[in-house]
């Protein structure tokens, strides 16, 4: 069994505590679940059935997070498994200072980031950071048939476009826009500057805009 230590309190790059995030934001992203507190208490006491209840409450969110960050089903399942094994080892240290789901999801993010570091993949691509790209220049949308995307994106199209992003862009986009982390938290997790996180997010959104416009144009031509 792997021994990745990716708990919120002991990751390699110390992120800001989840508690630093506004409570309302945490509640919006991670609303309380009925029966969760009881299951946590029993699981902390070593009750396996209660741990399974917690798994069933959170498996979809943790797996979806891993899948969006990695874009690979097998890796996402492997790291979902690792995240819950981490949870089992660390659940006794959960004090309830933040929402349980916030704590667990931070653990899952750290498991994914640790996995990518072990694979030797840069979490923020040097190429994406330094080389001027299409996203860097001013946009000239002269002559396009429909000036804005508003109302034209469905969930499946957006999910597909997110998976087409380069890994560095996708990482920051998922953490910020989907999971709701702040730039200072992302910078801490990825080991980059806050400005770099903002820049990567902006480029990710710009790339998504291009992808989504191509998709919308394709549908209009069909």
């Amino acid at each position: 069994m792997r021994t990745t230590d990716a708990s919120p309190a002991s990751g390699p790059a110390q992120p800001l505590a989840a508690e630093a995030r506004p409570i309302q934001q945490q509640q919006r992203r991670n609303p309380p679940i009925a029966g969760e507190l009881n299951a946590i208490a029993l699981a902390q006491a070593g009750d396996g059935a209660s741990f399974e209840i917690l798994y069933n409450m959170h498996k979809r969110r943790v797996y979806s997070l891993c899948l969006r960050m990695l874009g690979n089903v097998a890796e996402a399942e492997d790291l979902t498994q690792e995240a819950f094994l981490q949870l089992h080892r660390k659940i006794g240290t959960f004090r309830g200072d933040s929402a349980f789901s916030t704590w667990l999801h931070r653990m899952a993010v750290n498991v994914v980031l640790m996995h990518l570091r072990k694979k030797g993949l840069p979490l923020v691509s040097l190429e994406e950071t330094l080389e001027p790209t299409q996203e860097d220049g001013p946009r000239k949308d002269f002559g396009t048939r429909d000036l804005t995307l508003s109302g034209s994106i469905d969930r499946v199209t957006l999910e597909r476009a997110v998976q087409e992003l380069p890994p560095g862009y996708r990482m920051v986009f998922v953490l910020h826009d989907v999971e709701g982390y702040e730039h200072n938290e992302i910078a801490g997790m990825l080991g980059c500057s806050i400005g770099n996180s903002k820049s990567q997010l902006h480029k990710a959104r710009m790339r998504l805009r291009s992808l989504l416009r191509e998709s919308a144009d394709g549908r209009a031509d069909a």
């Binding site: 498996k59 797996y63 498994q81 660390k90 508003s150 994106i153």
Partner: protein, 91 residues
């Protein structure tokens, strides 16, 4: 008010600052350039729209049953949560 297309340099200067504008202004960016540039206005609307839609993405995928089977199998070999937290020095 007439929306025109500004010079590429004006657009470039505005767009270089966009990451900071989004970070400080959220979804309500107010800048004089947006009053006169249709393209940059459309760009800001699109980027806001993408960010808004991303927040609505829900977790929709479930892991296969094999994931829990593997976890359950592994937990059979692990110490209990209570013992693990005692090992970590937690009260």
């Amino acid at each position: 008010m007439t929306m025109t297309t500004n010079t590429p340099q004006e657009c470039s200067e505005f767009q270089q600052q966009l990451p900071d504008f989004f970070d400080s202004g959220g979804d309500r960016i107010e800048h004089p350039h947006l009053n006169t540039c249709a393209n940059c206005s459309a760009l800001v609307r699109d980027l806001n729209y993408i960010a808004t839609q991303a927040k609505l993405l829900m977790p929709i995928h479930d892991p296969s049953p094999a994931v829990w089977e593997n976890i359950s199998h592994a937990l059979g070999k692990e110490p209990t949560a209570r013992r693990a937290s005692e090992d970590d020095g937690a009260p």
